[in-house]
């Protein structure tokens, strides 16, 4: 009974407007992620660049920082692979 009520309650949900109904610019669903990540990552890259190239000028510390950042990102990705391989031994075949 509750399930039927819930289905009825959901009848108001409408689907996304089709291209013909759309009056203006819309982002295709498949590209939404690029827009979201672009909005997040671009300012972060600019701010990190400000930290690296801003005053006082010193390329040694920013260099070390970027190496640390790159190493950590690579280690995380490699870590994913390693964890996957190790857990593969635990799962029953």
């Amino acid at each position: 009974m509750v399930g039927v009520l819930l289905q009825l309650a959901n009848s108001g949900v409408v689907s996304r407007a089709t291209e013909a109904e759309s009056t203006g610019f819309s982002i295709p669903a498949g590209y939404m992620g690029y827009v979201v990540l672009g909005l997040i990552v671009t300012p972060v890259v600019i701010l990190v660049a400000s930290a690296v190239f801003g005053h006082p000028r010193n390329m040694r510390v920013p260099g070390l920082f970027l190496v640390c950042l790159g190493t950590l990102i690579s280690a995380t990705v490699v870590g994913f692979g390693l964890i996957g391989v190790l857990l593969g031994f635990v799962f029953p075949k």
């Binding site: 509750v2 819930l6 289905q7 309650a9 590209y31 992620g33 400000s50 994913f80 857990l87």
Partner: protein, 434 residues
Amino acid sequence: MATLTRRFGVNSETDGLLKPMEKSGRSFYLLGLFFLLMVGWFLYAWFLQLTQGLGVTSMRTPVGAAWGVYIAQFVFFVGLAHGGIAVAAAIRLLKLKSFSPVARMGEVITVISIMMAGLSIMIDMGRPDRIFNIVLFWPNRVGSSPLSWDVTVIIIYFTLSMSFLWLTMRKDLSGLVAKFPKMAPVYRLLSIGYHPDEDAKVDRMAWWLSIAICFLIVFLSGGVVPWIFGLLSSRPGWFSALAGPYFLTAAISSAIGAVIVAAGVLRSSYNWQDHLKPQVFKGLGTFLAVVTLFYVYMIFAEQLTMQYSSPISELLVSEILTTGAFAPLFWPMLVLGFIGPAFTLLAQAIRPQWFSLPRTVFAAGAIVIAFWVKRFLIVVPSLLRPLLPFPEGSYSPSWVEWSIVAGILAMAILLFMAFIKLFPIMELHDEEHK
């Protein structure tokens, strides 16, 4: 010691900060052993889950909750992770010198919490051995999957936070090489290429990076993570534009609470009364009270909307919380976990003579626990009320789930204990300036 004296002008002030690294009492090791045993138990429980499948948990689908305490724990740790470094970043950004003793604590809580958040997700996966597929299929998924956005931003956040912590620790570590010969190779490696000339550059970099981290926090804790829930139109109780601000406020509150608890415990354990002064707790406590009361206001706004004239599915989720199966959790959480402690902290701010440090730590602890419960109440009740014509489900975590959740918490505390044993938890050069 000579190096320390030269770099920091070591005196009884700074030397006291090295207490945990020099000698730890029997209680420290006993506590460590206890948490280690809990981690061992967690590994056993996880092994059972890996070999026997998610059937050993109480998570069920389509009737029941497909997500349970693991996801609640994930959201809890993500919140701690964001708020912890938000505190540290705000201190550096706004140059709040009197709060600087807790800056590194916030950074460490962040790094540990983000690792525990990742672990919680991995444990929730049916086949975590396929975790590398996230990387392999990233280009195909990132365009449309909020989960892919989540993984991407969390990796950026984790690596940036870790690099930030390392950058701000270099000066301290370079000065500790001579004092701790056993750890000298590690300190040398971590402070590689350190030269006192770099301090001005590091300060400026930390300032810029603080802005970057604050920006990431807003979009991660107030965006990408809540969108995992908030964008699901088929799920009553989750689909809400309020999800972002709701999660962000929770993140900041729970992390400030955790920082207060950590600082209170360390102050009492190592007699750091001179370093962690009452005004630090007063300031953080007042801010925590205001943010927590704002969160209570959002709970009220959410429940009012769900009760007033919303679709029946929303009303049913609200009723299950306020008068149904989850009411015994909801009301104590609201009254004893949020409203009571927040008003206690607020009263202390209004009447300074009422201030009590143990009470502040206790109130902060209650708020942290309440936020864990809140995450459970966000995740589970909505899943028990599907829109599809299935009967209403129920969920009560199994012993395996509780063991894993307790083990992850134990691991987080154990990592924090290991950090304070191996690295200075407060900035030594900051004490030098004082």
